[in-house]
């Protein structure tokens, strides 16, 4: 029988990441299909005020490891501690968000535990007690259903792909004192722009391409701000030096799946589509009626983005009132 589902949580600046709620909700769903419990693992230092939160998303138990050495994500320390917990708990499934941290941790854990990994999943189902995970490959041109054999089955879920569902779990907190073991990595410093909405987690992404004509992205920034969204860019816009490399959406940039993606002055090259094709609704604004982006968009406007985006912004303000 199943030994339960463990969800590894992740924090940023003292709060759980959105993808953690997604992983917990999905973990709960899997646990119910398997007829077992959901355990959340919270690693870090000084998390008293958030430690009980996973209970609201169905966690029956919450294992808390509070250790100064875990205050920043470090591959080696985190792998050691999670591997220790897995060895004690022997779970059937380990679920976590496929953030930059989650991807790194799940890859290292799969090797440490000799466990199967489904990276960056957009859908998970349980068949005969086993996980079948669906993940985009070839830049989203194909969806693959993956069967995982072995234990634990590690599932990393793509940010924004799973719905967040609140449900009550006992949320019993167990504090564990685990040594971080042998580590090599040393933390030097970090720099975060906390005022900015993270592209991969945003509900709305508005991207500009070569059609922006220069580094002035203020028309789309204003719309993004109104919607609490993030600004992305095509590779052309990044290569021109108009936007930072970290804003690039596409096969060699970030993969986003917001509720709403608005492509402004972007032609819709296959490498760009690879980064946004799992968005729920796609809008394109482009001067060229023949641009390939229109065949991938749900809604299109043929016209000048500098004319239309401010009008769209105004119209949204009207309905927001």
């Amino acid at each position: 029988m199943s030994n339960g589902v463990i969800a590894i949580t992740e924090q940023s600046e003292g709060l759980f990441r959105k993808v953690t709620y997604e992983a917990l909700s999905e973990g709960k769903r899997i646990a119910e299909s398997l007829g077992c419990g959901l355990t959340a693992v919270v690693l870090g230092s000084g998390m008293e005020n958030i430690s009980n939160e996973p209970g609201k998303y169905g966690a029956d138990r919450i294992i808390v490891v509070d250790n100064q050495a875990l205050s920043e994500y470090m591959t080696d320390a985190y792998t050691n501690v999670v591997a220790d917990i897995v060895n004690k708990e022997n779970p059937s499934v380990l679920i976590l968000g496929a953030s930059s941290q989650g991807k790194d941790l799940s890859a290292r854990l799969s090797a440490r535990l000799n466990a199967p990994l489904a990276m960056d999943c957009v859908d998970v189902r349980v068949e005969n007690g086993n996980i079948i995970a669906t993940r985009p490959i070839y830049g989203g041109k194909i969806l693959a259903d993956l069967a995982l054999e072995g234990k634990p089955q590690i599932v990393a879920v793509r940010p924004n792909a799973m719905s967040i569902v609140e449900s009550s779990g006992a949320g019993e907190i167990e504090k564990l004192d685990i040594d971080v073991g042998k580590t090599d990595l040393i933390f030097v410093e970090k720099e975060l722009d906390t005022g900015k909405v993270e592209l991969t987690e945003a509900d709305v992404v508005i991207s500009g391409g070569r059609g922006m004509g220069g580094p002035d992205f203020s028309v789309i920034e204003e719309l993004a701000e109104l919607l609490g969204g993030a600004v992305g860019a095509s590779r052309s816009a990044v290569d021109e030096g108009w936007r930072a490399a970290s804003d690039q959406v596409g096969q060699t940039g970030k993969v986003v799946s917001p509720n709403l993606y608005i492509a402004c002055g972007i032609s819709g090259a296959i490498q760009h589509l690879a980064g946004m094709s799992t968005s729920k609704a796609i809008v394109a604004v482009n001067k060229d009626a023949e641009a390939p982006i229109f065949s991938k968009a749900d809604y299109g406007i043929v016209g000048d983005l500098f004319e239309y985006i401010p009008l769209i912004t105004e119209e949204i303000k009207k309905i927001k009132k």
């Binding site: 496929a98 930059s100 194909i142 690879a274 009008l311």
Partner: protein, 260 residues
Amino acid sequence: MEIIVLLKQVPATESFIGIADDGVSIKTEDIKWVINPYDEYAVEEALRIRSAHGGTVTIISAGPERSVEAIRTALAMGADKGILIKDPAAEKCDGLGIARILAAALKNIKFDLIIAGQRAVDDDNFQVGTAVAEFLSIPNISLVIKEEIADGKIRCCRTVEGGTVVLEAPLPALFTTQKGLNEPRYASLPGIMKAKRKPLDIKSLSDIGIDASEIGEPKAKILAMKLPPEREGGRIIKGDSSRSIAAELVKVLHEEAKVL
């Protein structure tokens, strides 16, 4: 400085990808094969590190015969030698199996630094580099946009959501590449000529000292491939004026798509 680059040959990003008749693999007839873009950054960074610190750059790839072309291209960019691990048992592996094979090959080689791509743009696994580091019991740093080597240590700036983190690791270590690290050079004509004479060994699993049974069956196995659902939309919003078009778009986003 002995630098290893883990390199995979993948379909060019503009390739049309179709599902083969078996339903679990892709059609390969019309594909143009290239170096995985993230591994190109790895080759470029290895060459820059060699210029600064001396040493050699060795390309290692596991794959079918055609992967020789990708290794030759890396040699033409300036790498010193290549190793292709070609074995029928390696072809059905999952990411973990490939990592085990690459790690086994590296056990017989002296190295100070391994550079891998963050992901291969075919399977998009984000796994192999990091898993190789684990199998070799060396530290790894992923998504690196800047590195600096001094006194037997490497200091890397990696990207995270909303910013960057700087970490340091003792060598030997492995890091994976991220856009922004460098601009890969093109292979020059003299480079291409020289590459023809550079050593490129093709090895089987037994040559690198592992038995196919150690790799075993893939733990993550593709059951089926399908095409993503087509978007029906493609609806162009029309109207009498730009204002009415903008208003109509906002209305459908609000009422029909329910995303506003």
